[in-house]
């Protein structure tokens, strides 16, 4: 499932530009971003998204609501992205299990990894809440991609296209705060 990571310990690439991510999100024909604020992506991604008119930002009270909203939108042919923190992903596991996986719907989740150490693969993080995320996604059979440097931003579009082409969920794990 995991793509683009081979070394155990990687050199930090130094930066991840929020503007690049937003360009990629728009190029992926995302019309709605559904979000509960996530501290990793708060300033570099959510803040600028909230100041634009497209994609439309829908603020939700709890992350599993977003799974339902994205599901409903998927039937209408409108693309959406659920922007949350891994704590919210963990809280929404049953919704993701039932709606995204068992119903086979293209639920695209961009998940900030709270307190992840830059340059350290999530599975090797000293933070329990970070370390368990990828094994849980593996167990659920959900594809994921690590986005930590600007070079990783190019993964976003193909991952979203693949989710919609094959009607299946995908998770984009954000490993550092975008600038």
């Amino acid at each position: 499932m995991q793509q683009g990571v081979s070394a155990d310990i990687r050199e930090p690439e130094g930066f991840l530009r929020g503007s690049s991510m937003i360009s990629e999100i728009k190029a992926s024909r995302i019309e709605f971003v559904i979000s509960v604020p996530d501290i990793t992506t708060s300033e570099g991604l959510l803040r600028p998204l909230s100041q634009g008119s497209t994609p439309r930002l829908i603020r939700v009270c709890k992350e599993d609501e977003g799974v339902g909203i994205c599901a409903g939108l998927s039937y209408t042919g409108r693309r959406s992205l659920l922007l949350i923190q891994q704590t919210g992903l963990l809280d929404s596991v049953n919704a993701v299990r039932g709606v995204a996986v068992e119903y086979a719907l293209p639920i695209c989740m961009m998940v900030g990894l709270l307190e992840k150490e830059p340059g350290i693969p999530p599975k090797q993080s000293k933070r329990y809440g970070v370390r368990i995320v990828e094994p849980i996604l593996d167990a659920m059979g959900i594809a994921y991609h690590e986005i930590e440097g600007d070079a990783d931003v190019a993964k976003i579009g193909p991952a979203i296209d693949d989710a919609y082409a094959h009607s299946r969920p995908v998770v984009l794990l954000i490993g550092r705060r975008p600038s």
């Binding site: 829908i58 603020r59 409903g72 939108l73 042919g77 049953n94």
Partner: protein, 190 residues
Amino acid sequence: MKRDECLKVLARHVTDIDIVLPVYSAAFDWIDIRPHPLNYLSHGAMGLASSHALGLALGRPDRRIIVLDGDGSLLMNLGSLVTIAAAAPPNLFHFVCHNGTYEANGGHPIPGRGRVDFCGFARSAGYPTVREFSDLNIFEQQIGALLAGPGPVFADLKITSSGPQERDYSRLHGPHVRQAFRAALAAASL
């Protein structure tokens, strides 16, 4: 009001292009009252129907989206009232079938049964139109106007059970149900 009688009244005002999301016990009544591919039946569990409804309402502003929530279901997703009111889709009509029990899970009482004020929740969340119905005749008189007006609308339907049901969950969650809905919605878009 008996739930099936109430839903039969509602069904007379639902058109062939409306999308309806009934939940649990209401779903098993509804799919016999209004069998139709534009019934959206697969919304998982834990009260997410209103959130699916919001997604449909945002994606298809040309359609009325009618969600027939359960009281136990709505209690699991109360935040959706705030989210829906903030997004303010004019085409979303949110009914809660309120009988004070988790009817599909053994008939146990909901927390706060008899004290919970769903209309109060909806008003506080910011729904511009909120109604409560406990009399079938009044519901019959007013439902047409309620569905004609702009949403989001919230209505608390004080109902009693329709009685024993055959609960074949494949009728709600089977892949054929979602395929039929997807095909019907796509065809309607042509």
